[in-house]
Each structure stands twice: as C-alpha cells, then as structure tokens.
Amino acid sequence: MTLTNEQVEHVALLARLGLSDEERERMREQLSSILDHIDQLRAADTSNVAPTAQVIPLAPALRDDVVAPSLTVEQVLANAPRTEGGFIKVRAILD
C-alpha cells in the first residue's frame, strides 16, 4: 500500500506536525511500509481468537472515590506560557 502525499499531510496536520518536503517523503515511505506490515497481519485467520485490546493479563485496579490533594495553582500554571487571574491564557478559541 502506497500512501499519497495528501494522506501524509492529513495525518501530519492531525498531529500538528509541520513536515518539510523531504520529511514528508520519508514519512510516506515509512508509513506505507508499516501499513504493508499491518496488511500482512490482517491476512492471518483470527476467527478463533478473541479480540485483544491489551496483552497484559490484568484487570484494572479501581480506585475508591476519595478526594486527594491537588497541585497548587502556581504548580498547575508553572508550564503555561501565559496566565491571567489563575487561568491559562490562550489565543481566542472559536467555539
């Protein structure tokens, strides 16, 4: 399976990655070969195999509904480029 440039651009956009022409070409080749590999896996007969979402044979440990301390506002905002009145300040969001 060979991906088109448009498909690579689309995936890059979803991941918010800017790619140079050279990077895009490299990604196109690498992603194409990954998809080939997936196609190979899909060819295997799995009709007798239960769907698997996780290979670790563990049930999740559930947590009791108990409130634990949060960070301080200063800690929460420590990595925010811009803040205002305890909020994280960002460019205008178009809802």
Binding site: L14, I56, A68, V90, D95
Partner: protein, 501 residues
C-alpha cells in the same frame, strides 16, 4: 466521522415528511473525585485551576486509575435503562487538540462500551412512548473556556480552567426513535428524572451537568430510509432543545419542499437569534483516530458486582408511580405528580408512615399537593420546616376527628411557622380542639335559628341553600371548631322541630 453517505430525499412541495430525531445526552456522574485521579470533582464554584493534578493535567509519566464509584454510577444508569452490561468493556483514546484538553486526547469508550441496547419510556400528552437506548459509555469531561478581550487593543483571547477536566461523564446515546421536538423534550425529561431518582447525576442543564446534542433528519412519511443527518449542538436548556429542534425541522422541510438537498453538517443553536447556524468545523475535528487506552486494561464486570449495583438501585419513577396507584389506591394523576420528583415521593411515603389505608393515602396526597405545594416546591420539600412526621401528626388529629378541616388549615400554617411544636401541642395551646359536646352545639344551633328567622323561613319554604347560612352561623358561634357532621345532624333535628311546629 462514520462513513454514512446517505442521500437526502429530494422532493417537491406537497410531500409529507416526518422528523427523525435521536438524542445524545452527556451527564456528569455525581462522584466526589474525578474519573481517573483524586482531584475533587466539585468544580462549580471553585477558583480556577485549583482541582488539578499531574494526571488530569496530562503530565508525562502519569497513569490514570478508574474511579469505582463512577463505574458503578454509569452501570446503574445502564441497568435503569434496561441495557445489557458488557462483561468486558474498554477505554479508548479520542485524539484531538483543543486548549481545554490538556492530554491531547479524551479517555472515552469507543467500540466496546459499558452498556448496550436499552429502552426508555416517556409520556407525552397522556400517551406512553418508548425509545431505544443504543449505548451508555464512560468518559471524562474537558476543561472550561472563558472568552475575554484586551481592553487596550480589543483583541480577543480565551482563558482556560482545568478544574472540570477529568470530571466523570457518561454519554447516553439514544436511537433515532423520536418523531417530534415535543417527544424529544419528553424523552429528555424522563431521562433526567431517572438519573436523579437513582442519584447518579444532578441533571442540572443550566450548570452543564446534563447536556444534549441532537441528530435531526427528515424523510417522507412511510419511508424506512433515513435522510441526511444534521447534528445540533449548543442547546443549554430544555426549552432550547424543543425550540432548536422545531426550527431545524422547519428549516429542513423548507429546503426539501424547494427541491433542495440537506447538507450533512453540524449546526449550533443560537438562542438569541432563535435559529441554528452552520458551525465552522474545527478542521478535521471528526478524525479522532481512536485507539485502545494503553494505560488501562479492559474492564471486566463481575456479574456479582453488577447484581449488587442493581440491588441497591432506587425504585424507578415508573415503577413507583404504578405502586403508588396500586398499593395506596391513589388516582393516576396524583400518583404521577407525587412521583415526578423522588424527594416528593419520599416525603409522601414518610408522611404516610404505617397508616397506609387508601383513605389516609388520599388525604395525605391531597394535603401535600394542594396545601404543602402552596408553600414548598419539589426542590425545597426536603428541607421544609414541616417535616413528614409533623404533617402525619396533623393528619392524625384530622382523621381522628380531634380537629376539623378549617382548624387543620390554621394548624398547618402554625406548623410551618413554628418548627418546634407539633400539631397536638399547637391545638392544645390555642384551644383549637373540636367542640364535640352535644349540648354546646345544640345551644349554638338554637341561637343561630333564633337570630336567622329569614333563613329558617327560606329553608322551610323549600330553599335548601338557606341551610348553609344556618350552618355558617353555628360554626361562627363555636369559633369554627365544631364537628361539622355533628352540627349538621343537630341542625337537622332542630329544623325538623320547626317544621313540625
């Protein structure tokens, strides 16, 4: 986005269309802590970014841990809606970038949700309807955005508060079984009632704890195929849902009547303009690239656990309504009104106590619906100064013939205003006990007859209505405290003497 490439029915004016509506409800689950971390879920009035930790902030290296109470609340919802609880379900990552989503993905459930295939019943204009429930799944809420602008430059910007990020949420997806905006409104009302009854959500739409999106399409009456589907968002009240859907149905009908085609799109309800507007699609917003959440193994639901959750679920409104009618002999509409809110239904049963004769049940229902509701609402009945026990005390006196209705109303007002006294104490203190003394009543009747010669003459002349004036005069003389049945009997005896004489 799904691969639906359905074509809209194109037609000419004159074709009859029916609306096909399905609702997606998002409800916050009433837990103390968040879905995957121990931060407080009580975000509503908290200062911004004070309920945030490395997990809900999405810092590298942290791991989510599932809140058991959230799973139980969502499971209970599934059971209440008659869904099958999936023995194995799993969480997935829904990937998109938005400032209120610190991790860059929302943990949700995609192809193996918690609960599948249920049903809800609701009543509209006296007719019972049923609508299918597709699924119930768990997810986490996003943060909240506020919009502001720089007073100097006028440039707009946004402020993000992450207190809500990670609050447990469930999505309840309904089948497209609704045929009118009114049905959608009734469905939503019934849904919220159930969530409140079983105590899993506040159901508060104005505060955003209960939200609704709708899918709307039209198709020619009799057609089984679906038309192109428009998703409506941004409806922030029950009224807004019905208004938005009514607008959207008419908008689509006008397009189809003109021979046009409905575009499959997302539209936002604009409350001020009273119409839906095409939303600028966040580019590629629907390309979520779901994949299994690698940090959470699939969730297995032990049947014993699910059984225990079902066993402690509160009686559902429809069941309780039917029981009120059959067990207590209440009229259908009284049973419905009393069970609209669980608080009112609880109050009724507490006020009734063990004295559950049909007569007493109807008396109690009447006093709650006619008298108590003049003072309290379903929201405040739980904190009413007139507790169920004190109302029971009042009705004991009334039913036992210790006071009459007029006095009972007076005592009711006293009970409301002096929360420390019970009905018997008020009656004793104010001397309101019923005059049941034959002689005293006969005396008052004699006086009334003597002082109202005209009424007596009218009555004896055949004007039976004149009798009421004599009863009134007797009652007045006795301070309104006489046993009405006794007054009537004695009055009849005395008047009969007059007739003979």
């Amino acid at each position: 986005m799904s691969s639906s490439t359905k074509t809209a029915p194109t037609s000419v004016a004159g074709t009859e269309y029916e609306a096909v509506i399905g609702l997606e409800v998002h409800a916050q689950l009433l837990t103390r802590s968040k879905m995957f971390c121990g931060c407080s879920a009580e975000y509503f009035a908290a200062p911004p970014n004070t309920h945030v930790c490395p997990v809900c902030l999405g810092l590298p290296g942290v791991l989510p841990t599932i809140n058991r109470a959230a799973v139980e609340a969502a499971t209970m919802t599934g059971l209440a809606l008659g869904c099958a609880i999936a023995p194995v379900n799993k969480f997935d990552r829904k990937n998109y970038f938005y400032p209120d989503l610190p991790k860059g993905y929302q943990i949700s459930q995609y192809d193996l949700p918690l609960a599948l295939g249920g049903e809800i019943t609701f009543t509209l204009a006296g007719v019972e309807h049923r609508a299918g429930i597709t699924r119930v799944h768990m997810e986490e809420d996003t943060g909240k955005n506020m919009h502001a602008s720089d007073p100097a430059t006028g440039e707009g910007y946004s402020l993000v508060d992450l207190n809500r990020a990670g609050v447990p949420l469930m999505e309840i997806v309904g089948e497209p079984d609704l045929r009118s905006p009114q049905e959608a409104g009734a469905y939503l009302t019934a849904m919220r009632q159930i969530l409140r009854y079983i105590g899993v959500s506040t159901g508060n739409m104005e505060e955003g704890a209960f939200r609704c999106d709708a899918n709307v399409s039209l198709r020619p009456v009799g057609s089984a195929a679906f038309g192109a589907k428009v998703e409506i968002k941004n409806m922030n009240s029950f009224r807004a849902v019905e208004r938005a859907l009514a607008y959207e149905v008419e908008r689509q009908r006008a397009i189809l009547d003109a021979g046009g085609t409905i575009a499959q799109e997302t539209r936002g309800w604009n409350e001020d303009q009273g119409r839906t507007l095409a939303q600028r699609t966040k580019e590629e917003a629907n390309d979520y690239r779901y994949f299994p959440e690698p940090d959470l193994p699939p969730l297995t639901m032990d049947p014993a656990w699910v059984g225990a959750i079902g066993a402690r679920m509160a009686e559902l409104p429809a069941t309780r309504r039917a029981r009120f009618a059959s067990q207590y002999g209440l009229r259908e509409d009284d049973a419905r009104t009393l069970t609209e809110s669980r608080a009112v239904a609880d109050y009724f049963e507490a006020a009734l106590g063990d004295s559950a004769t049909t007569e007493r049940a109807r008396l109690t229902a009447n006093w709650i619906l006619a008298t108590l509701f003049a003072r309290v609402s379903a929201e405040t009945i739980g904190t009413s100064p007139l507790t169920p026990g004190r109302l029971r005390g009042l009705l004991d006196l009334l039913e036992g013939g210790k006071i009459n209705r007029t006095v009972a109303q007076q005592v009711f007002d006293e009970l409301f205003d002096s929360p420390d006294e019970d009905a018997a104490a008020i009656v004793a203190r104010k001397g309101l006990g019923l005059v049941g003394d034959d002689g005293a009543i006969r005396g008052a009747v004699g006086q009334a007859i003597a002082a109202n010669a005209q009424a007596v003459a009218d009555f004896l002349g055949g004007k039976t209505a004149a009798r009421g004036r004599l009863v009134g005069a007797t009652m007045k003389a006795l301070g309104g405290r006489a046993d009405a049945a006794l007054v009537n009997r004695i009055l009849d005896e005395e008047l009969a003497k007059g007739r003979r004489g």
